[in-house]
Amino acid sequence: MTWGLEDASVVFGSRTALDHLTLPVEPSTVSICVGGDGAGKSTLLRAIVGLVRLSSGAARRPQKKDIGYIPATAGLYIDLTVDENVAFCAGAYGVRGRELTCRSTEMLERIGLADARTRLGGQLSGGMQRKLAVGMALLHRPAMLVLDEPTTGVDPVSRAELWRLISGAAAEGSAVVVATTYVDEAHRASTVVLLEQGRSIAVGSPSDIIAAVPGTLGVVESTEQPQGLSWRRGKTWRVWAPSLDLPPGAESLQPDFEDAVMIAALADEQKIEIDGCAC
């Protein structure tokens, strides 16, 4: 494991934000951490970059000058212009002279901001702000790129362009780790970790996770809720049986990634309930 977390835990008082989590972050790959709000995604990323102290376990990271990090809420200064933002970032990481002019011009053109260099950060659209933030984080060719929910709230076109930048970073050798709430983005990764309340409930490549799905998945065409653990997909119901027996009316189905994520979360929830009862 080049970088990442090894059996890492983060405890705030009585609350365990991260529970014995292992996530390798390797160069030239994209690792994605998926979970809902409060699952611990931000804590995981902050543990990797060193913003949070580990209560146990280990974290490996390159030196600060080789990391690019964008927290969920920010990435740029809204009261500075595009040029001024780039200047600040470049100055902080020591990117100067011709290399700076070259890379920043190329980056701004790619993003579509070449004609908007004097516009204030706050005047850019949400998607544009994110693209600029990611572009700036890549100026100094970081060995490790850490992005916290880079595409949340961003429109689908900007999202595709953002992923183009992110994949490009991995193609050039960076080790990329991204946190997201969008399950459909997790396909893009070579390693996915599903996070639920600080715990990893599944880890591996997307196909590994699908293959590791326990029990059987079924689909029910009617609008009535079937017996057992079920959830809606459009007008139909999906039902999951931990054993091999599906309830009547259900047809067996091969799970896709979204199904696999649901099942992992359900399995985790069920396990918790069982543990809770055993008191």
């Binding site: 030239s28 994209v30 979970g35 809902g36 709000d37 409060g38 699952a39 659209s125 949400g126 998607g127 949340t152 709230g153 961003v154 429109d155 689908p156 076109v157 900007s158 999202r159 595709a160 362009e161 992923w163 183009r164 994949s167 490009g168 991995a170 193609a171 050039e172 050798g173 709430t181 969008y182 399950v183 459909d184 396909h187 893009r188 990764a189 070579s190 639920e196 490549s205 997307p206 196909s207 609008t223 959830w231 809606r232 997909r233 459009g234 007008k235 979204e258 994520v261 649901m262 979360a265 359900l266 929830e269």
Partner: protein, 287 residues
């Protein structure tokens, strides 16, 4: 099917900027309609037109058959992206506030949120907050629900439960209009309306929107190298693990790979909803 909410050739201009251009939108009882579009595509303006917060420059907006008014507002429920709840009040206090504001009779808290009645909304996890916001919007039994990005930021289980609530409403006859950026969520809707540049550029089920669009899947020895060369061509390449998806013809992809002495297997596969969306919107922008 009676349209609960309808816009007919509605246009909205702010000075010289046309936010909405001749949009026809219909939401009927019992169906879940998804409004999909880039930021600035006009989604928010359409919502504001339906809510009666602005009046159209041209065209008509009908809510339950008549132009939006205070009376028709009472028959609809709206959950904005910011939820419209007070963080520093408890769930019960928020509920009571909305009840008296709408003048509805005392309704008990639904079971899904009853356990959290005395907790401050600001202390609840986001998934639960969203369920509370939804329940509050539905407390006065509206016939039409407008939800702005209802499951944004929420985990899988909470998302599923929220959509269960939404489907239950629809099955009781409520019409639901949802705006979203999330493809997974878009696929939960019965019908999609795709907007770009203020216009409706596609309509129908997810499958109909995708139509017969295809992308090329390329599997190469080193996806990183293949990505770099294809990206340099200006193609918006998406990566899935170590498989590349390229919105171009297979011949084009083969040519580029060959030029850089890279070997790979290319195959044509159907596009997914996101790729279809990007292609529709880019085509619309190019017009």
């Amino acid at each position: 099917m009676v349209a609960l909410a309808e816009t007919r050739h509605v246009t909205m201009r702010f000075g010289s900027f046309t936010a909405v251009d001749s949009v026809n939108l219909k939401v009927g009882g019992g169906e879940v309609v998804g409004l999909l579009g880039a930021n600035g595509a006009g989604k928010t303006t359409v919502i504001r037109l339906l809510l009666g917060l602005v009046r159209p420059s041209k065209g008509e907006v009908a809510l339950f058959g008549a132009p939006p008014s205070m009376r028709t507002r009472r028959r609809m429920g709206y959950v904005p992206q910011t939820l419209g709840l007070y963080d520093d009040l408890t769930v019960q206090e928020n509920w009571t506030f909305t009840e008296s504001a709408f003048g509805s009779t005392r309704v008990a808290l639904p079971p899904s949120i009853r356990d959290a009645r005395d907790r401050l909304v600001g202390t609840l996890p986001l998934g639960l907050q969203r369920r509370v916001a939804f329940a509050v919007a539905f407390s006065h039994q509206p016939e039409l629900l407008v939800l702005d990005e209802p499951t944004s930021g929420v985990g899988s289980l909470s998302r599923a439960r929220l959509w269960q609530d939404i489907r239950d409403c629809a099955e009781h006859g409520t019409g639901v209009l949802v705006t979203t950026h999330n493809m997974e969520e878009a696929e939960q809707c019965d019908r999609l309306v795709v907007m770009a540049g203020g216009r409706v550029v596609a309509e129908g089920t997810a499958a109909e929107v995708i139509a017969d669009r295809h992308v090329v899947e390329a599997r190469c020895d080193s996806w990183q190298e293949a990505f770099s060369v294809l990206d340099a061509e200006g193609l918006i390449v998406q990566v899935e693990g170590d498989v590349l998806r390229v919105p171009a013809s297979p011949e084009h992809v083969q040519r580029v790979l060959a030029r850089h002495h890279l070997r790979g297997a290319v195959a044509t596969v159907p596009a997914n909803l996101e790729e279809a969306f990007v292609s529709i919107v880019s085509a619309g922008a190019a017009r």
